[in-house]
């Protein structure tokens, strides 16, 4: 009898789990708006019906009225497409409608030392499917030999300055703790690449004046809330220890002195998980989810999702919706877990969500409420 009872309970639980997982699928429609993209990475809306997408392999593509234009935007600089590097993020100047300025981040080989490379950010004027008047806004130093951990996300914040995430380069993790380099930092520059006077380390001797915060690993998601008062960033941990942080200027986020992850070799990176003067994450993931992009949802199409953070994840491939109470994460919901590795997620002007899947045949998928 007990045996039967156990099986009935087990059956009931399994059935409930299936019903529960399908419940979310029923809440929305998924529409593929572009496919055949070569490792889509960064995405931004130019207007209600025009989207710019970067392909890691080096092309900047346009989707207009739901159709992927066959010709990529011309004038984009050559990139180093290797390892995790390539054409990465894209952002629009806050005054894009008037000045047509588009910002791109990418990895590139050094002109003189070809075996070395770095992260570079440029801006150019986008007109008639062509990028012109290209200027370098930022170039990370020192150069690196590795093709990994670039960070490379871009975000214009409410004061009109640009935040750039710069990863630790993998082999150079310890340098994230020092202020004389760009490894493992978030940087803040003016729209023309000059340094804002109120950056936290402008007057610190030996520190690079662009630095906004430090002690990061590989930040591939940065977003701000609707009134611009909170800036969220997530970073890949090693084996475990992915983090979501609220970024404030001058703060040290601890990598690699404190971490919840261990190295890919299995070795400890640090036996310490906290230290005075180093920030604790708002949330961390063990095992890793490989967070790859993030958006703060402020749209009207999904009222119950308003003020949630959406984080795309490469492993196992889903989106995490985090609900917040002020600065605190109060719950996590797993969505869209049947699309494979997800590279990015953004909010569209109409309140829908746009998901970019990873890989050689990447797709852009629009999420709208179920009709």
């Amino acid at each position: 009898m007990n045996f039967m009872k156990k099986y009935l309970i087990l059956f009931g639980l399994t059935f409930s789990a299936i019903i529960f997982s399908q419940h979310h699928e029923a809440e929305y429609d998924l529409e593929t708006i572009a496919e055949g993209l070569d490792h889509p990475w960064g995405t931004v809306f130019l207007s209600e019906d025009e989207i710019l997408v970067t392909e890691l392999s080096g092309a900047l593509r346009v989707i207009k009225s739901g159709k992927l234009l066959s010709q990529p935007v011309s004038g984009v600089p050559n990139v180093l497409f290797a390892g995790q590097g390539g054409l990465s993020d894209v952002a629009l100047h806050p005054n894009f409608k008037k000045n047509k300025l588009v910002y791109l981040s990418f990895s590139e080989s050094d002109d003189e030392q070809k075996s070395l490379n770095t992260l570079r950010v440029i801006r150019g004027r986008l007109e008639n499917n062509s990028l012109s008047n290209i200027e370098t806004i930022f170039k990370a130093t020192p150069l690196r030999k590795t093709a990994a951990h670039y960070g490379a996300r871009l975000l214009f914040i409410s004061d009109g300055t640009l935040l750039i995430t710069s990863g630790d380069g993998f082999n150079y993790r310890e340098r994230a703790q020092y202020l004389d380099n760009h490894f493992g930092k978030i940087l803040r520059v003016n729209d023309d690449g000059s340094i804002p006077d109120d950056n936290p380390y402008v007057t610190t001797e030996g520190a690079l004046p662009e630095i906004w915060s430090y002690g990061h690993r590989n930040l591939q998601g940065i977003s701000m809330n609707s009134d611009g008062s909170l800036i969220f960033a997530h970073e890949h941990g090693p084996m475990g220890g992915d983090e979501l942080n609220i970024i404030e200027p001058k703060n040290n986020y601890g990598w690699p002195a404190i971490t919840y992850g261990i190295d890919y070799s299995g070795a400890l990176i640090s036996p310490f998980k906290e230290k005075l003067g180093m920030e604790q994450p708002q949330k961390y993931w063990v095992p890793s989810i490989a967070p790859s992009g993030m958006t703060f949802y402020d749209g009207d199409l999904f009222p119950h999702w308003k003020a949630s953070l959406f984080i795309s994840a490469l492993v196992p491939g889903d989106v995490r919706r985090l609900t917040l109470d002020g600065k605190n994460v109060v719950s996590e919901e797993i969505l869209f877990n049947k699309l494979g590795r997800i590279r990015n997620i953004i909010s569209a002007p109409d309140g829908s969500l746009i998901i970019a899947t990873d890989g050689k045949n990447g797709k852009l998928i629009r999420v709208t409420p179920k009709k």
């Binding site: 290797a82 390892g83 995790q84 030999k145 590795t146 093709a147 990994a148 993998f170 082999n171 310890e174 703790q177 084996m239 002195a257 261990i262 190295d263 890919y264 070799s265 299995g266 070795a267 400890l268 990176i269 640090s270 036996p271 310490f272 230290k275």
Partner: protein, 149 residues
């Protein structure tokens, strides 16, 4: 034959221990320099953690990597010894060093120049690991020598 196999396993374990402990200790030295409270307990517990974890949880078990590298290098050394008149202890020492050299140089080539063994990121670290291979190979050669020379 059985003794040689046993000696090979002991050699692999010694070399793996040297590799793992170097990764742990070099990491702890840096953390200590940063003002983190590294004490004896932390040192020993970290080494113990890494011996278990680098051989059980890592992407590639360190002991397997060392065993594979040394097996290939020792076979080549054994063949070379047929023609090259050199003491076995030195031949195997050279082979052990070459095995570790190959590990620290070839692994990054397979992973976008990433040094997956953290202790191998610096030149000094690479030299130490090669020395560990030399010591392991020498130990193996000496223990073969008593019977075969």
């Amino acid at each position: 034959m059985l003794k040689n196999i046993l000696m090979f396993l002991v050699t692999v374990f010694i070399t793996t221990f040297l590799l793992v402990s170097q990764t742990t200790v070099s990491n702890l030295i840096w953390l200590s320099g940063l003002g983190m409270p590294v004490d004896l307990f932390i040192i020993f517990s970290s080494i113990f953690h890494d011996i278990v974890s680098m051989n059980g949880k890592g992407a590639i078990p360190a002991v397997g990597l060392v065993a594979l590298g040394m097996a290939v290098a020792f076979v080549v050394a054994r063949i070379a010894l047929i023609w090259i008149p050199i003491k076995r202890r030195y031949a195997y020492a050279l082979a052990g060093g070459t095995a570790l050299l190959a590990i620290v140089l070839l692994m990054p080539l397979a992973f976008y120049n990433l040094d997956l063994i953290a202790g191998a990121r610096s030149t000094l670290g690479k030299l130490y690991l090669i020395t560990a291979g030399v010591l392991g190979g020498y130990f193996f050669g000496v223990n073969l020598t008593t019977k075969e020379d």
